[in-house]
């Protein structure tokens, strides 16, 4: 450890805040440490970690749960009738009568869980999924709901869950950031969805491209060296010598030392990042598995395959966003066409990722999370071929990372409008995710503006029932 980070010289947080050695450093001296100099870091491992990393497959716009993983026979029966219950007081827009799912469901695997025909490949992995059918949030608009899901708050600028995970665990790889987000959307909260807010800056997500950029063109900003390696090395040596001379003159200064390291890290990242993103050495079989050989699945498949490569390299939190430049899964109208297209783009890549992780023994300590910012209403919109936003009840699923495989947990009402049984609020989802990683959401805190902040604010219950 850099001697400048000795707690006696400077508080641990101050060191973290300024330090380029943030990557991995926390993991070394981290919340598992017996003695930590600040109350914000007094986090003991209350739970044995079940997962070491997260891959979050984010379906932007809100996929419809009753058309994918939460079949509703009563919806079929009552197609075209009014919703018999009370609709939510706050709705995004007016909705019409009930709309049955245009897709058929079939039971799959040993578990016999139903999946709609939209996801034939994911259905093959059903025995690995832990389907959470009772998720609910609070905000019916994309912006608020995205922020709620990513940061726990739709009102304030707060650290994203990836930043919290990165803060708590650090990266296992010295040459890569601990939180990477592949092709994130720039709309609906944009950067705040992977930002660090008041957490140390190194915890923020490093974006690779954005939703409007094809994944084979997606790059980290300024990662392409301006100079050939030899020449840049010499330039960096010149810079380092100068900075070192200067440091010797001014005396110990950990910001200046951190700066020296940061150039080396940036230099190493220039090599590590393209290496991690380079899929050319993957076998044809692997590429096929992820759908890289098909125009429809190629783009998202590449994102998923990159995610696996980052997971292998010790990145803690990897987000993969499925969205075009707009709001991909937002079928107020054109549900049939839109959801068919969207599912077709992601189905094979997701199944490929799950199978690949499993085959490589990575699934057991990688938590895969799938879902959108909300679900959709059972009532129709857009000339009976669309559904509205529905934060009151929707489905997300997990796989791997210490969750029970092949189960469906919780339930929405008979029509799928409201979460009804074993409800999982977004805060609960966050608490559970942290718990799976070995962190107690009540103790993963950060002191800011006079109080200790948490990902879950003052809420959150860990859903232990889904722990394997």
């Amino acid at each position: 450890m850099n001697p400048a980070f000795q707690p006696s010289l400077i508080s641990r947080r101050a060191a973290l805040k300024r330090s380029a050695a943030g990557f991995g450093w926390l993991a070394a001296s981290s919340l598992l440490a017996e003695k930590s100099p600040s109350p914000a870091s007094a986090k003991s491992p209350h739970l044995a970690p079940r997962a070491k990393r997260v891959i979050f497959l984010f379906m932007k716009g809100g996929p419809s749960h009753m058309d994918t993983f939460d079949p509703k026979p009563l919806l079929d029966r009552d197609d075209g009738k009014p919703f018999p219950g009370a609709k939510p007081r706050v709705q995004f827009a007016a909705t019409g009568e009930l709309l049955k799912s245009p897709w058929k469901f079939q039971n799959h695997g040993q578990s016999g869980l139903p999946v709609s025909e939209l996801f034939p490949h994911v259905a093959q992995c059903i025995d690995d999924l832990c389907i959470l059918r009772s998720c609910h949030g609070t905000n019916p608009a994309h912006g608020g709901a995205l922020l709620k899901l990513h940061t726990g708050s739709d009102n304030f600028v707060r650290p994203s869950m990836g930043a919290w995970v990165n803060y708590g665990l650090g990266s296992e790889n010295q040459n890569l950031p601990g939180f990477i987000t592949i092709c994130p959307t720039l709309a609906h909260g944009g950067v705040n969805n992977w930002g660090a807010a008041f957490l140390p800056a190194w915890t923020q997500g490093t974006p690779i491209g954005n939703a409007a950029v094809p994944s084979d063109k997606a790059l980290v900003r300024h990662i392409i060296p301006r100079l050939a390696p030899g020449e840049q090395r010499q330039q960096l040596d010149l810079l380092a010598a100068m900075n070192r001379d200067h440091l010797a003159q001014t005396g110990p200064n950990q910001a200046l030392e951190g700066r020296l390291n940061s150039f080396e890290l940036a230099f190493r990242m220039q090599m590590a990042m393209p290496e991690a993103q380079d899929l050319s050495r993957e076998t044809a079989a692997t590429k096929h598995l992820y759908g890289l050989d098909d125009k429809v699945t190629e783009n998202f498949g590449r994102q998923c395959l990159m995610a696996r490569r980052f997971a292998e390299r010790g990145v803690r939190f990897i987000q993969v966003t499925h969205s075009d430049g707009d709001v991909q899964w937002d079928q107020h109208g054109n549900l049939r066409k839109g959801h068919t297209k969207n599912a077709a783009e992601v189905d094979r890549p997701i199944a490929g990722l799950l199978k690949d992780l499993k085959a490589r023994g990575l699934l057991q300590d990688t938590l895969v999370l799938w879902g959108g910012e909300f679900g959709r209403t059972p009532a129709a919109q857009g000339g009976r071929d669309g559904r509205d936003h529905n934060p009151e009840g929707f489905t997300m699923w997990m796989a791997g990372g210490g969750v029970k495989p092949g189960i469906a947990y919780g339930a929405t009402d008979d029509y799928g409008w409201f979460a009804a049984e074993n409800k999982i609020h977004i805060h609960d989802l966050h608490a559970t995710l942290l718990a799976l990683l070995g962190m107690d959401h009540e103790h993963l805190t950060y002191r800011h503006a006079g109080r200790d902040f948490r990902l879950t604010d003052v809420h959150g219950h860990v859903v232990r029932d889904i722990f394997a």
């Binding site: 400077i10 508080s11 947080r13 805040k17 300024r18 380029a20 017996e34 100099p37 600040s38 109350p39 007094a42 003991s44 706050v90 608009a141 994309h142 912006g143 608020g144 009102n155 600028v157 720039l186 709309a187 944009g190 950067v191 800056a201 190194w202 490093t206 300024h222 990662i223 392409i224 100079l227 050939a228 030899g230 020449e231 330039q235 010149l238 010598a241 100068m242 001379d245 910001a255 200046l256 700066r259 940061s262 150039f263 890290l265 940036a266 230099f267 990242m269 109208g333 857009g382 000339g383 009976r384 103790h443 805190t445 002191r447 800011h448 503006a449 006079g450 200790d452 902040f453 003052v458």
Partner: protein
């Protein structure tokens, strides 16, 4: 800069997991007992015991302390500093050399580096003796009088005012007129508007006497109350209103008082003496005030629109028509969108019916008849939609003459008191609280709030009152922090129980008292601080001092610190010769078409980062929430959604990547190389000297000279572009560009020492 309060070290409880409020309470207590045994601060401040806490006690005028080394102090500030140093057994390092000092003063006072000529002139002046006035004083007066002073110091305030040119949040509307507030702040610092008046104009400028341009400027100042990020799509109007008020209370509390009053929205403040009642007394004042920020998203129902304030000589004649036009446009856009949706609904039904037709056993005759009927309706809609589209487009392109607009605040037509919102919710209302001011701050001579007024005037008077124990202390602490790199109170926005205690309480009070006595003049305060010996110390580390006081709490040396993003940006442009030192009129956001893109702004940002580049000073770059100019975001610009008195100082690899590989840095390095090579002989010594003088205000050391010249003769094999492909001249420029880049990326350039 370390934010947050100091933490107790080496206390046994730290192994315990602590929880939010409870932990803060415990920590506050432990800090009190472990670190300031003399202070007997209670665990929670109430109106009854607040007087026992330093920050709520009246500012004292402590006597200037005696010191052993009478030759050291140049001013009373120095005597306070030296007394503490002597008490701690610390010996201050010697004064910085003139080259360091001239850079420091330039960076700190105007945010621009000195030119090589300015450096040499200053060095010469310092070495010649028998002058009428000290060269430092001459320089300081010159810098304080520069129009760049306001651009530097105004920006500090803009951090606290959470200044932005867009709404942020989900509906990130562009605010085309916010820049007027920015320019008002810059102007206020340049003309040294007294700080008490600076407060009054922002809180109640519209209520102050005045007319014409003076009045307009004061109205613009109230934009302070309108600049918060708002949840424009909130459908509960009452919740929206209370959220806006909460944000205003938070910003007022943190920026002027260093007090987080907004904590009292849901319950009495857990630490500081602010009962919920006081919160709602203030909320009443702000309920009786209308923030003016303009329209929300057009074309979807927005219940939270407001007007803008028309200003200028032709405001009265032009404003009504302009407002009417805008309202008309909003209505028509809504109608157009509704018509489009209605039409689309039928289009879907036709598609449905056609699908039905294909199914076996379909009632073809009926379906076909339906389709024909619907097709006819669609045609009707086509006509309506087209007509509305034409109307909208006509309205969008033919605006009547526009007055100048500003974001501002004004009194509501009818003042109203607020009810207590139990647990902060709008559903559960308690008793009505009359409009009023926080009770913990008692000052003499305030007029009572009359039935017909909001009470903002009284609020402004309270905030700006010389007897207010917080205002002057908070203000001088901020100035101190910007000059010394760390406040006497290290939590500049929190002077409450949870905040840090002052390291030099007597000095803080001395400065606060002097500030008020000097008529709240920020320039006088800055002048007195930078002319002190304490400010002019070198930044060298002394091992014995470092051992005793590693954090330099007692000011035995100058604390080196990174240039803020804006200063760095301006320094790069300045040394590359690319800076346009003139203010950029208006803003990039003001240049955007004002209304056409308003509908769903957040879905597609109107300005992207790559557009946010210009050659003016960074203070004039657009501040779009969530889409900040890259350099600002990367180098710790203050998050523009909250009042922030101390920025982070981070070091992350993304900054290094930016310095190594960004086209902007490369372009500036190339400009810089071009400048130093201009007119130079083939000899490399001359451009190297120029390069160092321009960037670091000094000549290269022999070692540096050797290394830099060595870079110019590197092996052919490792060159990025083979020599054969470049002319000798082009190769030279490429190599010098790399050398220039090294200097721009160097710690010495990036930091102020």
């Amino acid at each position: 800069m370390e934010r947050g309060r100091p933490r107790p070290q080496q206390t046994p409880v730290k192994k315990q997991p602590l929880r939010t409020w409870a932990s803060a309470l415990l920590v506050a207590f432990l800090w009190t007992v472990s670190c300031s045994p003399a202070a007997e601060a209670p665990m929670r401040l109430t109106l009854e015991n607040a007087g026992s806490f330093w920050a709520f006690q009246p500012v004292k005028s402590p006597g200037v302390p005696a010191v052993k080394d009478a030759a050291w102090p140049r001013s009373s500030v120095d005597r306070f500093v030296l007394a503490k140093l002597e008490e701690q057994g610390l010996k201050p390092v010697s004064v910085a050399d003139p080259r360091t000092l001239v850079r420091r003063l330039h960076h700190d006072l105007i945010g621009l580096p000195p030119t090589p000529e300015e450096v040499e002139a200053f060095v010469r002046a310092c070495s010649s003796t028998g002058q009428h006035r000290s060269p430092v004083a001459v320089l300081v007066d010159k810098l304080l009088a520069s129009p760049h002073f306001g651009e530097r110091w105004g920006r500090h305030w803009l951090d606290l005012a959470r200044y932005a040119e867009s709404n942020g949040k989900a509906r990130n509307m562009i605010w085309h007129h916010a820049w007027r507030y920015r320019d008002w702040v810059i102007g206020a610092f340049n003309r040294d508007l007294t700080y008490d008046q600076f407060i009054r104009e922002q809180v109640a400028g519209d209520l102050l006497p005045g007319s014409g341009a003076e009045r307009d400027a004061r109205v613009v100042a109230t934009g302070f109350l309108a600049l918060g990020a708002k949840a424009l799509e909130e459908t509960k109007r009452e919740l929206f209103r209370m959220d806006v008020i909460d944000e205003q209370i938070e910003v007022i509390g943190r920026s002027f008082l260093g007090l987080s009053i907004a904590c009292a929205r849901c319950h009495d403040h857990k630490f500081d003496p602010v009962p919920t009642r006081d919160y709602y007394a203030l909320a009443g004042i702000l309920r009786s005030t209308q923030p003016l920020y303009g329209l929300g998203p057009m074309g979807i129902k927005c219940v939270n629109d407001s007007e803008l304030q028309a200003i200028g000589p032709d405001a009265d004649t032009l404003a009504p028509k302009a407002a009417e036009h805008l309202k008309d446009l909003a209505t028509r856009v809504q109608e157009r969108n509704d018509a489009r949706s209605s039409r689309y609904r039928i289009v879907r039904n036709v598609a449905d019916a056609k699908a039905q037709l294909k199914k076996p056993g379909a009632d073809a005759a009926k379906l076909e008849a339906d389709i024909a009927k619907m097709d006819a309706v669609i045609k009707d809609w086509d006509v309506k939609v087209k007509a509305l589209e034409a109307t909208v487009s006509n309205l969008e392109t033919n605006f009547p003459p526009q007055p100048a607009f500003a974001m501002a605040a004004r009194d509501a037509a009818k003042p109203e008191d607020s009810k207590i919102h139990i647990r902060g919710t709008i559903e559960n209302l308690g008793e009505v609280v009359p409009r009023g001011l926080p009770q913990v701050i008692q000052v003499p001579g305030l007029a009572p709030i009359a039935a017909g007024e909001s009470g903002r005037r009284q609020l402004a008077d309270l905030l700006a009152h010389p007897a207010n124990p917080l205002t002057a202390r908070v203000a001088v602490n901020r100035v101190w922090q910007h000059l010394f790199g760390r406040g006497l109170v290290t939590t500049p926005d929190d002077f409450g129980l949870n905040g840090a205690r002052p390291s030099h309480p007597e000095l803080l009070d001395h400065l606060a008292a002097q500030f008020v006595a000097d008529g709240w003049s920020t320039k006088k305060l800055i002048r007195s601080l930078v002319l002190s010996r304490a400010y002019q110390l070198g930044s060298a580390v002394d091992a014995a001092n470092q051992e005793r006081d590693p954090e330099n709490v007692f000011l035995w040396r100058k604390r080196p610190r990174a240039l803020e993003a804006e200063v760095f940006h301006d320094a790069v442009l300045s040394v590359s010769g690319q800076l346009d030192p003139r203010p950029r009129p208006g803003s990039m956001t003001a240049d955007l078409p004002p209304f056409t893109a308003h509908e769903m702004f957040s879905f597609k940002p109107q300005l992207v980062e790559t557009q946010m580049v210009h050659r003016h000073r960074a203070v004039y770059l657009p501040v779009v929430r969530g889409v900040l100019p890259e350099l600002l975001k990367l180098f710790d610009f203050a998050e523009p959604s909250m009042a922030l008195g101390a920025r982070d100082e981070t070091v992350v690899p993304a900054q290094a990547s930016f310095l190594l590989n960004s086209p902007w840095v490369l372009a500036q390095a190339r400009h810089l190389a071009t400048v130093v090579l201009a007119g130079a002989s083939v000899d490399a010594a001359e451009p190297l000297d120029k390069l160092f003088r321009r960037t670091l205000s000094r000549l290269p050391t022999p070692r540096e000279r050797e290394r830099f010249l060595g870079y110019l003769v590197q092996p052919e094999a490792q060159l990025t572009t083979p020599k054969t492909l470049l002319s000798a001249e082009a190769l030279r420029l490429e190599q010098w560009t790399s050398l220039a880049q090294v200097l721009l990326a160097s710690s010495e350039f990036r930091f102020s020492f």
